[in-house]
Subunit: 311 residues, 3 copies
């Protein structure tokens, strides 16, 4: 397969083969970060712009490290409140960045569809680093890569996603990616945090955490973003922990080697107990490590895809 | 000609020959950004400090990209409110940056004269990235370079500058530069946005936009910074657009190939209509592209000038 | 001596030999910043993360310049208010940065002991860039290096530290370092700004500035951080200047070649008069220059120390 896509906007629009191709590419970049000199010249002389309309230290840093290990020049544009580029439209900002002869824009935006909109108006590559509740494809790719690396396969696995599914781009991208790869996905949350008709995405729904853990090969625990719950729709923190928190007791009833994943940052004692987060089944920090390799692979591929488009 | 100036503070103090020499140097750097590997070693091992007392994502990013394509190390110091270097004076800050063995300070400051003041107290190079209402020489240089590139010449052209001339460093630097190069400059704005005795700078004044467009080879449309109009001196936005906004109808009465320039960011529907901004006469994005080449040339020249001074 | 420490947390725990070894290493890095191409490949392909929970443009920039001159990739994480990594614990943040395969964390934190805590939970190197009132070892090392460079020796010198000793990590690190190297240290401040039992650190206490200056080979003048004096414990600024400010008159009664040091940024007219700060005895800007060399040496050594630990 030859990669010809100039953008990575989400997993919904990728084929199973395209997702597998990315995962194969990740493996070859993972080794770079374990070298003495963690640097390859793949994107030397290229300019990567991190365009972050939402603050996100973790994702920005991960993309910045990945781009620098590929020898790219990295420019960070972080919108603090409304100061970014004085009220310019997103499309004008994108066209200006293109006019700088940048090669890739990594965009994080609070509006669903922002990355797609941007990609339609510029010729350079766009990588979606999270758009509203819509998609966060590199997070899902690193989750899937970690699953595959740890369990040796991906097809036929049972994976449960626990937490606020309604407002989670991480959940959506995981569901698109996992179901395409033959994973049986269960989502688990209080009813008010499950979007209506989610079953049409090909997932099973349960409100019972023990049911979600039963037979699961891995559980992906979402961060409960209580700080964003402006409408008071969330359960109380203690109540949530009591009913949905991942604890040692609950894991003892699950498969012995169940993998525990979390996109970070952790709310210890809310969606997950501390001992479990630091326990032997947790692969949370390995997800972070794999995030670098995933982003290196994605930056590399979209740059290649754009070159193919130009020819 | 051998470049011996260690600073670029404004266009008022440069000779016609010096401005032409910079423009010639720009041309040779423009090609770099169209290469596969957009990088030359001209400033390898040099340190460029972006010292921004006013927020300006666009200008900071343009200088940062330019410096990185020259292989310089770039340090960004952006003053958020008053936190910058705990109330130290500008001169002390400059001396400290010099003591770091930095090579070039790119300074943006809200006080007119800040760059000149700084340059008098340090030996390393100072590039003015905008000081109060005074000068913004790299913006004017990229405007002039774009004019010359598009129209094949500069001497004898008619250029109109439309907008808030009183508070515009872009206008001032353009007027100094253009008049030295033999351009006939017209400024056009409501009376309250034209500084008194501006004719002494060698420009023609009109308050009639159609008059300003008539016979113009290019029109440089300034951003109306309504967000800065604390005294309520500005006309209403709709009224401004009606009387001074650049629209298709108005351009139809101008020269057929009139160039449309704007320093960005655009206020669509205020100083310029959207169709015109995106239309065939607009060179707004080419200005952005040329901005990189101009800043590469300027950083390169001042570093050279400083070396000459040391010998 | 072979350096085997992976961290630099403070000078209290270092031996005299270790401190001297660092100082010797500094000398070899100082030359780099006077080269035409200020760059060595010592940390090429390594990732240095500046993790700053307190704003500090000066220290961050000094570490960033130092790391870039060593060819490292540098990532800045600056906590603006509470946005940093969404309430994650320091240890979780540290583990995440380690999982990115970063090599060195440079940490500035308002809590004493933060750097030590972090170092106990991760295997990568930790450099303390200031923790609460506790230690600021690279500042003390650059002070000591400057003393030694200017006076040709360190053992047997008399050094006075003037200012708010109670809340000063700079004072604490200087006292640990200087006393280990055989310097007789005097601290001088109003009684309320001297911590109880400070004599146990091996220093002499005086509240008389003339007494502190008498026989001193150097005086290190601390910044009076009036902006932090929430409890109103400080004397009035004018009163402080009158009683403790370093002036030409006071220096005339001191040793003829007394060195004047200050960690910056200066409060001119508060702890020091302007003419003295800019006078012939001042080595304030040389301290800044030496800060780069010290930080290059420290980053280089801890990276080496970590490699030794791994084997």
């Amino acid at each position: 397969m030859i990669w010809t896509l100039k953008d990575l906007l989400g997993l919904e629009d990728l084929t199973r083969e395209e997702i597998k191709f990315i995962l194969d590419t990740v493996a070859s970049f993972k080794e770079v970060s374990s070298r003495e000199i963690k640097k390859v010249p793949a994107l030397r002389g290229k300019t990567v712009v991190n365009l972050f309309y939402e603050p996100s230290t973790r994702t920005r840093v991960s993309f910045e490290v990945a781009a620098k290990r590929l020898s790219a020049d990295v420019i960070n544009i972080v919108a603090e409140s409304s100061s970014i580029i004085k009220g310019e439209t997103l499309i004008d900002t994108g066209r200006n960045i293109q006019a700088l002869k940048a090669d890739i824009i990594v965009i994080r935006h609070s509006c669903s569809g922002a990355a797609i909109l941007l990609s339609k108006h510029i010729d350079i590559s766009v990588v979606n680093a999270g758009d509203g509740w819509h998609e966060h494809p590199t997070q899902a790719l690193l989750d899937i890569f970690t699953l595959q690396e740890k369990l040796g396969k991906i097809d036929g696995l049972n994976v449960s996603i626990v937490g606020d599914i309604s407002h989670s781009r991480v959940a959506r991208s995981n569901i698109w990616g996992l179901t395409k790869l033959g994973v049986k996905v269960t989502v688990c949350a209080p009813a008010m945090l499950i979007p209506p008709e989610i079953e049409q995405m090909g997932v099973r729904v349960t409100h019972d955490i023990d049911e979600a853990l039963k037979n699961a090969d891995a559980v992906n625990v979402l961060r409960m973003q209580f700080e964003r719950d402006e409408q008071g729709a969330f359960p109380k923190q203690l109540e949530y922990f009591k009913n949905f928190g991942i604890t040692r007791e609950r894991l003892q009833k699950a498969k012995k080697n169940i993998l525990l994943m979390h996109p970070g940052p952790l709310n210890r004692g809310i969606e997950i107990s501390s001992d479990v987060a630091d326990g032997p089944q947790s692969v949370i920090l390995e997800q972070v490590t794999n995030g670098i390799a995933v982003r290196m692979a994605v930056l590399f591929l979209v740059a290649q895809g754009r070159d193919k488009n130009k020819k």
